[in-house]
């Protein structure tokens, strides 16, 4: 494996992989995220729930550098990553999927995944174009790894198909394969089950579990479908109006009065 060292080699003693410290985000007059603090431990499957507009996706955008926080800090593996641009955050080992799937629609499924191998490969413009030995080997390896990832998410049968032609549920799985191509340590999934039927949701649940185990991932999951969250997650944070209103194991959070109130009538 090229690129960032895996968890086993890392001397970081603390269990926390990601620390969100009093992070705030304001646009115009709106405070989308208000002094949110929590830590995600290595290997955890951490859920993030809350009503629509609670600031969950904004929090993902803050963590991945798409938006800069107006206050607070974000630490990853002990390093302060506040304000880093998205490509640098990705290089450090944080990958994500998007709430509204953002695949490279015109490109094939395989290309989508191959593109995400960028930070774990090195060939530059000249060596690539000239087709020098190391570049060619790397190209071959990229293709193989991408194919393997497609197989992992169950999409190995149509590698050359254009991404936009896939069914919605399949697109979400493709996006996960793409994110995994980064060889992340921390994977952020933004509503991966949206638009899936019950069978697909079960399969997704299994996929998330198996991927986490096989690749030693830490996963941060935004999800509206509560049974999925309750079954999968080790701990859950609940946001409402940009604020953290509860944090803990699923059983406790489920009964938390503030959470019940926030979800009143929401089928919790």
């Amino acid at each position: 494996m090229s690129g960032a060292p895996g968890p086993a080699a890392d001397p970081l003693p603390a269990a926390d992989l990601l620390t969100v410290e009093r992070v705030t985000c304001q646009f115009g007059g709106v405070t989308a995220v208000n002094e949110v603090s929590f830590a995600v431990g290595r290997g955890e499957l951490f859920g993030l729930i809350g009503p629509n507009g609670a600031g969950k996706t904004t929090l993902f955008n803050l963590i991945t550098g798409l938006t800069a926080p107006s206050g607070g800090h974000l630490r990853y593996r002990g390093e302060d990553i506040t304000g880093l641009p998205p490509h640098r955050v990705a290089k450090r080992g944080i990958a994500r999927t998007f709430q509204n799937v953002r695949l490279f629609g015109e490109l094939s499924a395989l290309d989508n995944v191959m593109i995400a191998r960028h930070v774990r490969t090195h060939s530059g413009l000249v060596s690539g174009v000239l087709g020098l030995g190391p570049a060619r080997r790397e190209e071959h390896e990229t293709r193989e790894r991408a194919t393997a990832l497609l197989a992992l998410v169950g999409l190995a049968d149509r590698p050359e198909e254009r991404a936009r032609n896939f069914a919605y549920g399949d697109q979400r799985r493709l996006e996960i394969a793409r994110a995994l191509a980064l060889e992340p340590e921390l994977l952020l999934l933004d509503e991966p089950a949206a638009g899936m039927n019950a069978g697909e949701k079960r399969a997704l649940s299994e996929l998330i579990r198996s991927v986490r185990a096989r690749l030693s991932l830490t996963i941060l999951l935004i999800e509206h479908y509560v049974p999925l969250v309750m079954n999968l997650c080790d701990r859950i944070a609940v946001l409402n109006f940009g604020q953290l209103i509860a944090l803990g194991p699923p059983a406790l959070v489920q009964k938390h009065p503030a959470v019940v109130e926030a979800y009143l009538g929401d089928g919790a």
């Binding site: 646009f27 115009g28 955008n61 798409l66 938006t67």
Partner: protein, 315 residues
């Protein structure tokens, strides 16, 4: 610096700047309502200038397909100006229907519309050249009764501005006031601003967006035609490609003032006019680069322009 000299340069700058301002008003109006840069504004400018020329009964020269052509009648200048500008407005509407509406219906990227408008502008200007050649023309002087220049200084230290330039400045101020009034104080203006905000919602709310887009292009085209004639009056019509040159310089004006900002168009025009006027004599040859250097710098440093608000991008 000598006070007389300073005043002279300032007035020169305002004079040329006010021409840029009227041009930019039409240019920026379309951006404010439709969020597109309509490069054909320069071609409309040319069409206005040439139509006015034809309507004054003047004859076209020796080049071009219609060499030697002249209308069998000649209108007094002001009527010719109005006629020419109305034809310009009509041309704008035709361009909108034919080139922009299909793109808008598809939700095309504004960049694609810009490219299309470049193509249309080049085609129109070259058609004009094909028909009428590229020679310079000048209008019969409508201000014959008036003195040719007005002195803003003293008899001993004269600061002269050509009367026609004073007229142009006055026209630009009147246009600015009228357009600002339209946008801010009338129902039509409010509807235009709604369409600028969100066309789909506006039409769902019962606003006749088609009619408003039409109105925008009529006003913009009219202003473009007026500018073409006024500039022709002031310095003569230097060939159809003058419209392209204005179209390019106009980009600098509207970006500097703030894309879509109506007072910004006037501010941008006057600033660029002043900047050009104050180029030191030994660099006079580089004067034409000044608007573009300003454009480049503004884009890097403050793309929303002088009067625009910084845009927040929603992820």
């Amino acid at each position: 610096m000598n006070r007389t000299f300073l005043l002279q340069q300032v007035l020169n700058g305002l004079a040329i700047g006010s021409v840029y301002a009227i041009f930019a008003l039409g240019y920026t109006l379309i951006f404010s309502v439709l969020r597109i840069i309509n490069f054909t504004h320069g071609a409309i400018f040319t069409i206005g200038a040439y139509t006015t020329y034809a309507l004054t009964g003047s004859q076209f020269g020796i080049n071009g397909l219609l060499a030697g052509a002249a209308l069998p009648f000649g209108l007094p200048f002001v009527l010719a100006l109005l006629g020419g500008s109305l034809v310009a407005a009509l041309s704008g509407v035709i361009v909108e229907r034919v080139a922009f509406r299909p793109l808008r219906a598809r939700g095309a990227d504004p960049l694609l519309t810009l490219v299309s408008s470049l193509g249309v502008a080049v085609a129109l200007v070259n058609i004009t050249q094909y028909l009428f050649g590229a020679e310079p023309y000048s209008y019969p002087d409508p201000l014959q009764g008036l003195p040719s220049a007005i002195n803003f200084g003293t008899a001993a230290a004269p600061v002269l501005v050509r009367t026609v330039q004073v007229v142009i400045f006055a026209v630009s101020m009147v246009m600015l006031v009228l357009l600002t009034y339209l946008m801010n104080a009338t129902r039509t203006g409010k509807a235009l601003r709604a369409v600028a905000e969100d066309m789909t919602t506006s039409s769902l709310l019962g606003i006749d967006t088609d009619r408003l887009v039409l109105l925008t292009f009529v006003i913009s085209g009219f202003l473009g035609g007026v500018t073409g004639t006024l500039i022709g009056l002031s310095v003569g019509v230097a060939g159809p490609y003058f419209g392209i040159a204005f179209g390019l310089k106009g980009l600098a004006v509207i970006v500097l003032g703030g894309l879509g900002d109506i007072p910004g168009a006037v501010v941008g025009g006057l600033v660029i006019g002043l900047a050009e006027a104050f180029v030191p004599a030994q660099y006079i040859a580089y004067r034409e680069a000044v608007p573009f250097a300003l454009l480049f710098v503004v884009l890097l440093v403050r793309p929303q322009g002088l009067l625009g608000r910084a845009q927040v991008q929603k992820v």
